[in-house]
Amino acid sequence: MAETRPETPSGSLIMLDVPGWGGNLAGQHVDVRLTAPDGYQAARSYSVASSGGGNRIELGVDKLPKGEVSPYLVDELRVGDELEVRGPLGGWFVWHPEQTEPVQLIGGGSGIVPLMAMIRAHTAAESTAPFRLLYSVRRPEDAFFRQELAQPTPDLAVTWLFTRQTSPGWPRSAGRIGEADLRAAAFPPGVSPTVFVCGPTGFVETVASALVELGHDPQGVKTERFGGT
C-alpha cells in the first residue's frame, strides 16, 4: 500500500503499487484477499478508479459496518503493508476509448468508483463522446471525488442527487432517484446511449427498471451490483 486518503466519513481512496500490474481497462475490478494469523481468509471485490498503464492502482473503498474486509482496508491498513490482489477482472462493465456513442453514467455511493475510471479514461483519450454522470449520495460529504468532479471537464455533464440531506439552497429536495430525475438529466433513449449503472443492489435495480420503462434498450444498459441495501 503506497498511500491512503480519507475521502468521505466512511470511505477512503487507497493507492496500491502492484508489481507487474500492466494496466487495466476503465471499469474493471480487483479481488482483495486478507488472511488472518489463524489462516482464515476473506476476499472481496473492489472497483479500480484508475485506468491505463502503470503499476499503481487506486481503489475506492466504503467501510461497511459489519464488513470483514472493508473496515480493515479503511481503518487499519498502513503504508507499506502488503495485500493479496487479483486482477484486473471483468471485461463487460468497461468503457473503451474507441466507443463514440453517448455514455450515461449513473452511480450510487461508492458505485462511482468504476465510473470515475471511465471519466478519467475519457479525459486521457481526449474522447469527444458525450458523457453525462448522475451521482446519487446520501449527503454532499458522502461523495467520492467531490473536488475532481467539481472541475469542468470537456464533454462531461455532472448532476448530483442527494437522498438524505442537500446543500443549503439546493434546488432538488432530498430523495431517492426516480424516473423524473432520469428524464430531467439523463440522455434520452433516442440518442441510443450506452448506460453504466453501478452501486448498491437496490439502487441499481431501481435505476435499471426505470430506464427500461423510459424506453431504453435493455441491451444498452450495463449494470454492476455491489450488494448491501
Binding site: H29, A43, R86, G90, T201, E224, T229
Partner: protein, 85 residues
C-alpha cells in the same frame, strides 16, 4: 432480496478455473432459453458457496461451492456456454 450481486463478481473466482473471461461468455438458460452474458446473471450467497441465477427467469444456472480441497461446480442449469476467444 437486496443482498445479491451479479455475474461480474465471479470474474475472480472463476479465473482460477477458466482461461477466458467468464463474465463475457454467453450462457443459455436450460430452463427458459434466455441467452445472456454471464455478467448479467444474479449471484446469491457468499464466497463459500454461490448460486448463479438467470436474469430472466431466476432459475439456477450454476452453483459454485468452495471445498477444503478445491471447488465444486454444478452446471446443469446451462444448456451451453458460448466463449469468444
Amino acid at each position: 432480496m437486496a443482498g445479491h450481486v451479479d455475474g461480474n463478481a465471479l470474474a475472480g473466482v472463476l479465473s482460477e478455473l477458466f482461461s477466458f473471461d467468464v463474465t463475457l461468455a454467453r450462457a443459455r438458460c436450460a430452463s427458459c432459453g434466455d441467452v445472456s452474458v454471464f455478467a448479467k446473471a444474479l449471484v446469491y450467497g457468499s464466497e463459500h458457496g454461490r448460486v448463479l441465477r438467470c436474469c430472466q427467469c431466476d432459475d439456477v444456472l450454476m452453483v459454485v461451492v468452495a471445498r477444503p480441497d478445491g471447488m465444486r461446480l454444478q452446471l446443469r442449469g446451462m444448456s451451453w456456454l458460448d466463449v469468444g476467444l
